[in-house]
Point group: C2
């Protein structure tokens, strides 16, 4: 359970099964929590400005403005107009992807699985009511996706480091439509070869309890370790160490 | 001079000064050459399908489909619909960027230089006649841009490895509108702190001479060395070796 959110009640909550997508509206200052419910599950995430969907979350502007390919707590996520859209408030994992496109029907055709569910289609369906079609789904942030970069720039998809109940929390810096899909990829290790469910919750912009500090040494150390884990893989055979085996948090009830 | 193109006459040629952009139309099979004219100059590159500009070159799909962040000869560049748009035919440098957004007016405001020319505006102006506005400029491929990735995923902009007359050649795999800007960034090392001119040429889809092999050992070795240069920087102080000091090719006359 999130330190910041543990005493609060969400104003919106969604349970997302693999291959499904959900869109939620958020006002400036509201918090979005994206959480794994069983374990190693990737959440493809896109967002648009309410009332002006030509502005959307841009991974390329976010990478460029932060000089980083790795989302980290405190980082601002930017739009295609280089305007702040979100701040990353909490992150229990420290390993996410801002490089990969959504999986899509052509990707699955290439993998010999035509007709397979995909994030691109799931997000399109979730955003249909906002007039956003397939071609306008931008490159996503893939929360919990674990991509190693090898020395010549090769990308290698590995099992997520996320375990059951891991999560990220984002604060909206403008009024947005956020959409999340639970990646249905079961042919490569994207989701630990076993796609599972996600929870998405929106919380009001109310005074929050201060994040715990000294008394939460173990969790803080784990988080710092995760945030510092190398993204770059020097040795093809070396795998990043598992950061922690489990999280004991209670599953939050969702609608 | 390009081995493949040395005996051919371009059907379109453009000279691009820093802060300017140019769009050229290409039919399937035609070749596009993007060349530095003085030296360490980045070329921001975007492309759209003729007659259906909702389809455009996607760096995120290109990275995902190739499992690589580094453009290399033989690589296919894909659209947002995961359809082939270009093949990389030649590359005399081997170091380019597919991570950074175009520089834009907000970027220069952040750098204390409001009103500075930018690639985003230059590409928008070049594409105005095709109904493509500022918000629809996709993440570019930044030819000749040299970005090192440090171990925690930090990005570091370095001087381009490209020297005078270095180039890339792309073959169009569908009918496209390609647009190139000469990056005017002079506040960070993107263009070796000295933006200079580019040439862009389109060649017909005619039978091409075979690429030289054994008899061009020196150049081939240089190219192989460039293609193999690590993208990932392990040591902040280690800089990649200069690949070659000069190229003796004649400057091609452009319109």
């Amino acid at each position: 359970m999130s330190d910041l959110l543990s005493e609060k009640t969400p104003i919106r909550a969604r349970h997302i099964r693999p291959g499904e997508g959900q869109a939620v509206e958020m006002k400036t200052g509201q918090l979005l929590q994206i959480q794994t419910l069983q374990g190693k599950q990737v959440a493809d995430f896109v967002a648009f400005t309410q009332g002006d969907t030509d502005e959307f979350l841009s991974t390329s502007v976010t990478r460029a403005t932060n000089s980083s390919i790795v989302p980290r707590p405190g980082m601002t996520l930017y739009s295609n107009r280089r305007q702040p859209m979100f701040e990353i408030v909490e992150d229990t994992v420290g390993r996410h992807d801002m490089l990969y496109a959504c999986c899509d029907p052509v990707r699955y055709e290439m993998l010999g699985a035509p007709g397979h569910a995909s994030c691109r289609v799931a997000l399109t369906e979730a955003l249909t009511g906002y007039g956003i079609d397939y071609d306008r789904i931008p490159p996503p942030i893939n929360w919990f996706m674990n991509v190693a970069i090898l020395q010549r720039g090769e990308l290698e998809i590995r099992e997520p480091l996320a375990e059951k109940d891991d999560y990220v929390v984002l604060r909206a810096l403008k009024d947005v439509i956020a959409a999340v899909s639970a990646c249905p990829q079961d042919l490569v290790p994207t989701n630990g070869s076993n796609p599972t469910d996600l929870a998405v919750r929106v919380y009001r912009d109310e005074p929050l309890p201060s994040p715990p500090e000294k008394e939460d040494g173990q969790a803080s150390a784990e988080r710092a370790g995760a945030a510092a884990a190398p993204v770059v893989a020097i040795n093809r055979t070396a795998r990043p160490a598992r950061l922690r085996d489990t999280a004991e948090a209670t599953v939050y009830r969702v609608e």
